[in-house]
Symmetry: C2
Subunit: 315 residues, 2 copies
């Protein structure tokens, strides 16, 4: 059973959306008209054993990630977060002190991004910890950037450096990217506020550049080519590559949980850094073919498919 098939099932059953739904399911956030404006909304859960490890990860980072994962979805729409609600199902032996620590950090993280926690639901059970956060956001003067706007001839950009997000670094000390990342809200809004730099399509990188860019391509009806030697490689991806024996670019494309932005835009207009964060052109949007949605051009000039785990060469 694949998550995508399930999601597709939900989306299909939404074919006839009621009046008032301005962005249907399938983007980083849905949107609906309320009062005089539009509200964007996203929900994400983090579960012990899936998205974090309660036995080793600090509570402070777990609570932080529960919030930032959603805030990254708001960034992907270039939306301004407005408020959050959180649901927690705690193991019965969790203890009050740890619960308070967890909620304190969720609350502080929400405040840090001007997205106050305004409600919650707490249950206890004999299973593992799970936190579910819903963030809502508003356009606040900037039309939301969708996944569906990529155009042939666009350049493909990513913020930051990619790969190895799950390993812990010694420098900076105890840094584990998937628990410590900064949602790129400000960068997204700076890009989207000017016609010259406004992304045509954007997504946040949760499942790896290859798969997430394929989602943009799917919804835009185009294909993409990445250049393996242009993808910005994180220190963690380099370390991971040495351990795995695979090329670092494969980790940068496939590891997931980068929570950086991937967007397509008119070439030549995007600055090479914003707020000190590198913004790197990594490829281009091309016409849809019957081949892979996203292929990668290797240093020797051949192309590899990025679909699946096999990194199958196709030309």
């Amino acid at each position: 059973m694949r998550e995508l098939e399930l999601l597709s099932h939900i989306y299909r059953s939404n074919a006839a959306l009621p009046v008032g739904v301005s962005i249907p399911p399938g983007d980083d956030m849905g949107a609906v008209k309320v009062g005089g404006g539009a509200v964007l909304v996203t929900v994400d859960q983090v579960a012990d054993g899936v998205h974090f490890d309660l036995s080793t990860d600090p509570l402070e980072k777990i609570g932080r990630k529960a919030m930032t994962r959603n805030l990254s979805d708001a960034a992907a729409m270039a939306a301004r977060p407005v408020a959050a609600v959180a649901a927690a199902c705690l193991p019965k032996d969790f203890g009050e002190d740890r619960a308070k620590t967890l909620f304190d950090v969720m609350h502080a993280t929400a405040d840090r991004f001007n997205c106050p926690l305004i409600g919650g639901d707490i249950s206890m059970w004999d299973q593992r910890l799970i936190l579910t956060v819903t963030v809502f956001a508003e356009p606040d003067g900037i039309d939301p950037v969708l996944r569906s706007g990529a155009k042939v001839g666009d350049a493909v950009y990513v913020t930051g450096k990619l790969g190895g997000s799950l390993i812990t670094l010694e420098d900076p000390p105890d840094y584990t990217h998937h628990l410590d990342f900064t949602p790129r809200i400000d960068i997204a809004r700076k890009l989207a506020t000017s016609i010259a730099t406004r992304p045509h399509a954007m997504i946040d990188l949760s499942d790896g550049l290859a798969l997430d860019l394929a989602r943009i391509c799917e919804q835009s009806g185009v294909c993409a080519e990445l250049d393996s030697d242009k993808v910005p490689i994180s220190t963690a991806a380099d370390i991971t590559a040495k351990r795995s024996g695979q090329p670092a670019w494969q980790h940068a494309l496939g590891d997931g949980e980068d929570y950086e932005l991937c967007f397509t835009a008119q070439p030549g207009m995007i600055p090479d850094q914003i707020d000190g964060v590198p913004v790197t052109p990594v490829g281009r949007i091309v016409e849809a073919t019957t081949g892979p949605r996203v292929s990668v051009r290797l240093a020797d000039g051949t192309f590899a498919d990025t679909a699946g785990l096999g990194w199958e060469h196709v030309g």
Copy 2:
């Protein structure tokens, strides 16, 4: 560790709420200003082994409850539901067919109450099923009814009949109230639209009349007296009382999961039924004392405390 203590901890840390939060945490829904209007929001989770039993309860009813539990919170504010998002953490062996059934019924239930499901997050893990639904709503011309407006001299009302919500009835066949209830959205909005009948304070009954009315009293700075012989007793409460040997009114006050409305209003103005659902005066709001928040007057004229499980007599 008590849920209430945890929630209090969250609410205290929200003492300095940012501009834009129009209803702070602690009511049935929070609210925040977006665009030109206010958006109300609530989140609730239903977990296997806590809120339903996956081994015996039909999937159709589980998915329904995940939605209706939140819609009942919207009813408690007299708000109009606008949209929902859902997160599911599925056991790894759950299977695609059952997942589709679950999402189909959540989707159909959302549509049935004009509250389209516009997004979601699906994960899989080796633990039990948990569904988390966030509903947002708008006032749509009716100021939200809070918990904090109860006045001395108000009558206390409940919709429907209370108690025994967890048992399955033979008549109607296979009816289990906590899985089959109808959120009282229309009734709440009909009451709140007229000055004469507008509730001063309202809550939906999730933890039992005694505890939920105490929440209204706490937030309104008042106390309440219930009349044991006026509380409407459900068939299920009668059956449960025969099994337990306790008076049926104790089950009506304490069993929980009724998802009926409890509200306070000017006496003498409320019709005895709305849309075929009984609306019953069950007591009155009195001045705050050092005694119990909610006491119950028994048939012999003595009063009992409703706090705790002991049903401790206090006078």
